[in-house]
Symmetry: C2
């Protein structure tokens, strides 16, 4: 069963709903209308209703949304109700920063191991996570249930490592390497290209400067 109807734009908005509902819960808000949520999130109420209707609605006419219930349902849609075991390939600055980020583990994204080629790093621990040699990657994948592989290595190596990952059953890659990975259709890739994000900001600066002229 494929959710043909769920567009990328909707998927991109779901985590933001999750964040705002979490904030509302923390503030003790028990129910909210789509109008109130709309004002907080700066999107139209009809967009909110449309987005949520993709998954069954969750709202009640005249009542609005039950915040805790909607939060929980969106968490389920996002797959946050189960553990997503991860490995991080690359024990450089970004790999280590990701390993140290506690919020991932809090949401069920638990890093089982890191991999690197540097003999000064291999065999040690990074934020309590063991660092293995990249040559042990295939064996590790065969012996562990890994859901997500995070790539924080240079682009040339990323392409080769992605092949090892796919050959050993990995179906999800969080890719920080500055390259488009060519993977089979059943493997999902989420790219974080920081340089491209920075270039988009640079474009907007140049464009805004033109407008001020």
């Amino acid at each position: 069963m494929e959710n043909k109807g769920i567009s990328n734009a909707v998927i991109k908005r779901l985590p933001r709903y999750h964040r705002y509902l979490g904030d509302l819960m923390a503030q003790g808000v028990e129910r909210i209308s789509s109008q109130e949520l709309s004002a907080r999130m700066n999107v139209t109420a009809s967009q909110i209703r449309q987005d949520l209707n993709n998954f069954g609605g969750f709202g009640q006419q005249g009542y609005g949304y039950n915040v805790a219930y909607l939060y929980q349902e969106i968490a389920k849609i996002l797959g946050l109700d189960r553990e997503n075991s991860m490995i991080i390939i690359g024990c450089g600055n970004f790999g280590r920063a990701l390993a140290k980020y506690k919020n991932f583990a809090n949401r069920g994204f638990v890093t089982l191991a890191m991999f690197d080629v540097n003999p000064e790093k291999v065999g040690k621990q990074e934020s309590d996570i063991p660092v293995h040699h990249i040559d042990e990657l295939a064996a590790f994948l065969q012996n562990h249930d890994v859901k997500i592989a995070v790539l924080t290595i240079p682009r040339e190596e990323a392409v080769k490592v992605a092949e090892v990952l796919v050959a050993n059953g990995i179906k999800a890659i969080w890719n920080f390497a500055h390259v488009d990975l060519d993977v089979p259709a059943d493997v999902v890739v989420e790219n974080v290209h920081l340089s491209e994000s920075l270039m988009q900001l640079s474009y907007r600066i140049a464009d805004a400067a033109k407008c001020r002229k």
Copy 2:
């Protein structure tokens, strides 16, 4: 003058054109047709022509694109032909990883200073970048021409610091804090919400698993 016609989708694709053209140059390719570029980039040739026509085209019937020229023109559109001075607020794991990333400086994104509250970090250097106390932020902004402020601090502090940034003339924020910043219309914000990216990946895993059933 506002480029009303340039959609976000086009802006998001520009850095990718820049990357592929840089790779082609590195491979010694001097000219390329939109068909060949299309096959490499996995987008349609008509999309490429449409995207580039937003900025004047750059191609010649029967010749295609001159790679070096197009690379340079896209760099200009992206504002990479000038220096974009940055400061990084937050000397934690991500802030330090960004400070160490040499590719930013290579593209003209030069970090002038970092800011933190931790007395163990303030007054020292991080990858040759001086770390100042956050209380010195306003004075620093008045005395330096800073184009981009990078926020790698917790969300509560990010909201307050963004106010200081805006009050002191910052027009561009690269925001890694997990919050939507409420800034005036002439301030551009580019968000990198890593948790949300990871949740999107998690959604796609759950969705793909449904399809395999």
